[in-house]
Point group: C3
Chain length 340, copies 3
């Protein structure tokens, strides 16, 4: 049992059994239990192993020490052109479990690497901490900074298996990471579960609490608490796979792309630009219809009134965002749009 006290003594089988955690319903797996604040000693064992305890007396040994030290938090920061921050958090307190939790640091590490390869517009922060207590400690020192800069955050956990995808909204469900998550998940995945904020269970408990109120959502594969292997020895390296981890890395990379490529443009010209002058339309008039591209250029400029970002325009025009972004940049270079 995590956070067990030190013990070195002989006990009867009866006493020992009182200090064993097991789960009859999952007889092959050793459950994960912890006791942070109640001082006690215990072992976690599989139900099937219980029968091995046949002796009348046991020598119980746990070599543990509670020492006063500081809490270490990994805080990896990539400065962008903008002060606005996108934050990814994960936790590192029981890495013996694979999906929940080792997958989180693995994926965070990979997407941090991805960000380091970008000429990034936004600033990015990657936080590795012990769940709950790490978040609280960090918030106690950094809340003001986070409030000033964070435009969107994601709690990254349970991202290594291949059974499911899920999205857990922020408290209000209408913050920026909510829009982005739903947009990218709908576009990239065949299927994902939209959980309620009531289903939350990781560091969004701190980050989205009423008095902290930061814009954080969470994207998971099989969510904590929803798969039988959760918090047992069954959540091991066989449960996750490098393919699934790579899919998660790709998905978060697409979320980063989504942020990096979103802009608000505004039309400069009075009335519709004369597109033929810019070689964006044929000089011959009278064709009954515009080409798809001609139509996209004119619709982009007509919609760029400062109230719609490139995401929204790409959804209105039902086009990939990257395509619309490219057309916007072209129109900006031609002096038809400007960045807001």
């Amino acid at each position: 049992m995590s956070y067990s006290i030190h013990i070195d003594q002989f006990v009867t089988k009866e006493i020992l059994l009182e200090h064993l955690y097991f789960d009859k319903d999952k007889p092959n797996w050793i459950p994960y239990r912890t006791s942070y604040y109640q001082k006690n000693w215990a072992f976690c064992v599989s139900f099937n192993d219980l029968e091995k305890f046949k002796e009348a007396e046991y020598h119980v040994v746990i070599k543990a020490e509670f020492i006063e030290t500081s809490l270490e938090i990994g805080d990896l920061f990539f400065k962008g052109k903008s002060e606005s921050e996108i934050v990814f958090t994960t936790y590192v307190c029981h890495p013996s479990m694979a999906n929940n939790e080792l997958s989180g640091p693995v994926v965070l590490n990979a997407i941090a690497k991805y960000v380091s390869s970008l000429d990034n517009y936004y600033s990015y922060r990657f936080l590795f901490w012990p769940e709950t207590i790490g978040a609280i400690a960090y918030l106690s020192q950094e809340l003001d900074n986070l409030r000033r800069n964070v435009v969107a955050g994601f709690v990254v956990t349970c991202v290594g298996d291949n059974r499911a995808w899920g999205y857990i909204p922020s408290r209000t469900g209408i913050t920026l990471p909510d829009w982005i998550s739903k947009r990218v998940l709908k576009r990239e995945l065949k299927n994902f579960t939209e959980y309620s904020f009531l289903d939350r269970g990781s560091d969004e408990r701190q980050l989205c609490s009423p008095s902290v109120d930061l814009p954080f959502a969470s994207i998971t594969r099989s969510k904590y608490g929803t798969y039988p292997e959760y918090h047992t020895s069954g959540d091991d390296l066989n449960f996750i796979s490098s393919e699934s981890l790579q899919e998660s890395i790709d998905l978060f990379s697409k979320i980063i792309d989504e942020f990096e490529s979103n802009r608000v443009y505004i039309s400069i010209k009075m009335g519709e630009p004369m597109y033929s002058k810019y070689a964006l339309r044929s000089g011959l008039g009278g064709s009954p219809t515009l080409s798809k591209l001609e139509s996209q250029y004119t619709n982009i400029a007509a919609l760029s009134d400062g109230s719609l970002d490139t995401f929204e325009i790409s959804e209105i025009l039902q086009q990939p965002h990257i395509h619309i972004s490219n057309l916007c940049e072209k129109l900006r270079e031609l002096g038809i749009l400007k960045l807001l």
Copy 2:
């Protein structure tokens, strides 16, 4: 006929017939007619009784006198901890009819008694007046006070029969008594008719008129104008029953409970409280799921951001309001929530 003038004279059968009101379609019942401002004399009779008028001449006698006096209004007030008032009105102008109208004063009397038994938070006012003219007279003197204090009001009429339940909204349909009525009716009844404001017909005609604009809704059993016995001698003590009256009293008591128990709390703690410290959660960590109660405590605190009242939280968590209110009070006593 109500408000008939004094008469004592001999008239021919022909003249008499011109002064008889009856209803062919409801031959057994005597219709109710009144003439407040047109001075006239008349009798109301059942269609079946018409054949009894066989004489050529009749001695017509109505002993009536119009005297100058004052209009009396029953105004029963229970001061609560708050100045905010919940108002119930009913009318006492033609109590010969049972559902419309005697049931109103009976029910109002009973719920006033219920309020008197409470350590009430809100103030309550019960108004008994002649329909229309009583409301107008009261408004002419008390409108400013009502505007300052009334948070919700209910016109109580036609609450004695067992055929139906109905709700008539305020003009906008989005005032506090609208929310409360719909919430309680949906929870407590199998079925009720949601009328339109256009179907109104009692003192909400005054109370909800544009220039008065007080937040009043109405809850009825068989609504005036919708049942054949309405405004006839058929609306008698056989049409209503003590069981139905009791059901109405119970429903209005539940509406009062709903008001009395609704509060807005706000979370005090930075981040999620450490529930194990308050004995609201086990100190042992790692169990895959929280118990239902553990989950309710944590969700209540996470939702208490000052924008949701206990009603709304109880609906989000799909729990009885009284249960959520009790948990809120517990969290308040523990210093996790405070009253807004």
Copy 3:
């Protein structure tokens, strides 16, 4: 080809063919093509006529001259009691085509005549210009005036055939001409197509562009680009009919009626007026239900809180607007309502 340059020379059949526009898919019809800014010469011919070109050499003659002159715009204005303007625009640049475009000026002329017969409350402006360039020229001089006064505008084009009706919204889709168009079209027509702003293609490209942003919608019969005859010699006087033109005139007249008759009234009386005093209700009380008209009067006054116009009240009461407007005027004359 419109805007062809001057030419008078002998060319081979090969060269000539390079300067012929035709449409294989519509072999009987001569396509319409224009070249405003690319200096070139060309002819438009039907595909079926191509075979007539059998000679080896041709004498090509186009007598054309580009002269510097001014752009003429028809600007017909009817001053009303109010400065607020309703604007109708149409274009006069290729009147050889019947539905797109001759129908527009014909209908505009007729509805201008209709307005001249009214004692109009709103001011009306009718603009006849060459498409695109006329709109741009007018906006370059009159935008400030238009912004100050225009409350609604309509681009009138393709209003002569009988195959379809269509409505093209403004950029936001929530401007006054949008509400009015949808209301009248839904009431008057069995069927009409609700296009998207993305389907726009006439002068709303200028009038609704982000930097101009005037409230313009468009109502059409067969919309430009959606019928095979569009921009060909097939769009001739056989394609349109006087019946269809008259239907369009009638529809726009009803839109004008809709504007002319819409008002906001507000109830003056404290509480419900005593309708019997105004002879709007019987003095005899007790009838179970109000007559339809009694009910309409009382509902109008009860709804006239300044937030609803007569359109909206007529929709709430499911009555023709003109009927509700008449009842409102009656109530205004009686001192029960006043104009806001």
